[in-house]
Symmetry: C2
Subunit: 438 residues, 2 copies
């Protein structure tokens, strides 16, 4: 409690004694991500943070029944900034008024968690310095690649490396459009219309198509991973609008496909950086990323190459990144008390290896008539369904390998049948039994 | 400074005033990983941590010239535990005496960073509780998947999710052997011997082949990601010794290959968990993991599926994980001062998009004789080497797409040629110019 950055000025009456270290959190911006953040925080019932304020324009129409009754709903940002909260979550996006809200919060010594990529790309270094000056924290794990924890990994697990390169598929809209053209050779305009109809692209998709969105994210990755301060506009962005279905035909001739790639390589005193469509090998990690997934590759002097893949957008994945940042800040503010609670929640469940799965059974037998019939009979007696029988030619009849695959069943159903089959007189080795993961 | 968990009892004389908040770190165990950890800490010249002790048996023969002269080399563990250090790095491995060393350090209020998977798999929950009781930290990011930052991601970027499943390729030895059999259909015994000869497998490889190593790692992932306390021996482990080259033939018939998979699924009150060879689709993330790489997939209620891929072993990647944990602990102990230093190191390099790469040039032309000759002449004048000329049949002669690929050259070399080519009278659109990433 003594390590809370700002001592509470009001008595934390509602929070009760048991949870008196709970961080008080205000949520500014209650759109898709804001609602998902509130939902996770309410559902998880974490003891280390407590939402006290939700702020949005026309807040009345935003109210949700699942939000606890003691949360204050307001459309007055200033009242939230004046309130006794330790963490402000900024989810309104854009530069104005988000920048002023974040600066005011930090000036007031409140830590800030944001998903605002334009704000961090443009003002990240300054805002980080402001946060440090005021003894609070600024986290922005949700600003790049949504739920893919690449920024947290750069902050923690990779901090001991010296990275020299970062490359990624950072814009789900472009990737959706390009992989749609790749798969069905539809015209660019048709792929774009489809993406818009499905909500993967906005009516004005320029920010996505022309690379502005990915460039802001690359700027943030370069800041967090390469420790470079870059003005987003100084990074060249090439549009994907000029890509034609025929380019996928020619790319295929070269063993490649086309993806919007954002990349930054630090060499000596120069940061080589750009965003735009590139040919990538079809069987490379980039070439295999379909739909609106995000992939980030990092290259380090000591740890070599790492890859991070996952859902780059969407309310829930982005909310995971925001909530994770909130928990991280709360843990720091509480001097580890938050983590203590988390570790106390460890459970000791029953352990089972009784997976339900399809199975691969491989037999080595001395060939003789009627083997499959005998095995099939045992399987039928145990209510196990055969999916296929495979026997490749050319093996020694004295030690013949062949395979039976089974439909979905539990390990425990299969086991007695296995014992019977392995005891048969033509069986040369115990049956090899492997789960088939689909 | 006031947040350092243990106030210094000796005056930090050598550290000087500017770095007086540097965490004092002792390294116990100076093998491959220990040496790599020391090297990174010395090379990076971080201001937030300072190695003060290196402890190993027969320490004299271990001394390195690149270690600063003020580091104390010792073979007396007790003297290290009694010394004024805030962080102890345990890299001796095994349970005994590592367990006693870690317990003693934590009891003394020193934070511990360890790569010891057997210790954490067996005693992790208790040791974490001990650490919390004593107000210090225990981190073990290097104990699973070496340099792949999956444990840090579970601790930070995914902490806001509720995970229900974790699966991974966690043992590089098994993956090396299985992917060798897959690629060349060599017998198991030959693949094992090769792995041993190359240093990927120990003389007694039972711990790897029979799943003990992966099981310990799965236990740790289940603790960190699913918040379950599991006794490693309660997880079934199946050996890969029974896999035959012929199994890869049959698996291929099913569109699959074989990998050692470690998996844990939390369903209601039961943890389904096991380690062993499984059939996985050849074109799945698991199926594509070759050699000694590690892959971990997580499944969460909110964020969906995430994948982490990278080098799972080796001195340098493992050392990155250890150093990252040390920096993380130092940051917590210094109340953010360490991070402040890190953020001050942001540089503002020159920005360039002048990548050197092979290129894809796509033209739309009104067909006429001599087009390729004209283009080739311009390219030759600019000293650009053609790699291939591609022209697919069946297009309208009035708007014919064709492609020239170029060997490696800089964007700046290419640009003047592009301008000339786009100005040619038969050119219907500006040439589309894409980098080819290999």
């Amino acid at each position: 409690m003594e390590k809370l950055s700002k001592p509470a000025t009001e008595a934390p009456a509602e929070s009760g004694t048991a949870h008196s270290f709970a961080c008080r959190v205000a949520l500014i911006g209650f759109g898709t991500v804001g609602r998902a953040v509130a939902k996770i925080l309410c559902e998880q019932g974490t003891d280390s943070v407590r939402v006290t304020h939700i702020c949005n324009r026309n807040v009345e129409r935003k109210k949700q029944s699942w939000v606890p009754g003691n949360v204050i709903w307001t459309d007055d940002v200033q009242s939230v900034l004046n309130a006794d909260v330790q963490i402000v979550i900024e989810l309104i996006g854009g530069l104005n008024p988000a920048e002023q809200i974040v600066r005011s919060a930090l000036e007031a010594g409140k830590s800030v968690v944001t998903a605002n990529k334009q704000l961090i790309a443009r003002h990240g270094p300054d805002l980080l310095q402001l946060a440090h000056r005021r003894g609070c924290q600024l986290e922005f794990g949700a600003s790049v690649a949504g739920g893919v924890p690449v920024l947290p990994a750069l902050r923690t697990g990779l901090s001991g490396d010296r990275l020299h390169g970062i490359a990624g598929i950072l814009n789900g809209t472009c990737n959706y459009i390009l992989s749609r053209i790749e798969n069905d050779r539809i015209p660019f305009s048709e792929a774009l219309e489809e993406a818009q109809a499905r909500g993967y692209a906005e009516a004005d998709a320029s920010e996505d198509l022309d690379g502005g969105d990915a460039r802001a994210k690359l700027t943030i990755l370069a800041l967090a991973g390469l420790h470079t301060r870059v003005i987003p506009e100084s990074v060249r962005a090439r549009t994907i609008r000029s890509i034609d279905a025929v380019d996928f035909d020619y790319a295929a001739e070269l063993g490649c496909t086309i993806r919007q790639i954002s990349r930054a390589d630090l060499k000596a005193e120069t940061l080589f950086a750009e965003v735009g469509p590139c040919l990538v090998p079809t069987d490379s990690p980039f070439g295999r990323v379909q739909r609106n997934l995000n992939l980030v590759l990092t290259s380090g002097q000591y740890g070599g190459d790492m890859a991070f893949l996952g859902a780059g957008a969407g309310g829930d994945p982005t909310a995971v990144a925001v909530v994770s940042d909130v928990l991280f800040v709360a843990q720091n503010l509480s001097g580890g008390a938050a983590r203590k609670i988390a570790s106390a929640k460890v459970s000791a469940p029953a352990i089972s290896s009784d997976f339900e799965t399809p199975w691969y059974l491989r037999f080595f037998v001395r060939d003789q008539p009627g083997i499959v019939a005998r095995l099939a009979q045992i399987l039928a007696e145990h209510h196990l369904n055969i999916d296929s029988v495979l026997q490749k030619p050319g093996f020694d009849k004295a030690a013949l390998p062949f395979v039976i695959t089974l439909e979905l069943c539990r390990d425990s159903q299969l086991h007695p049948a296995l014992e019977k089959m392995s005891a048969l007189e033509f069986s040369l080795r115990p049956c090899l039994c492997l789960p088939i993961l689909r």
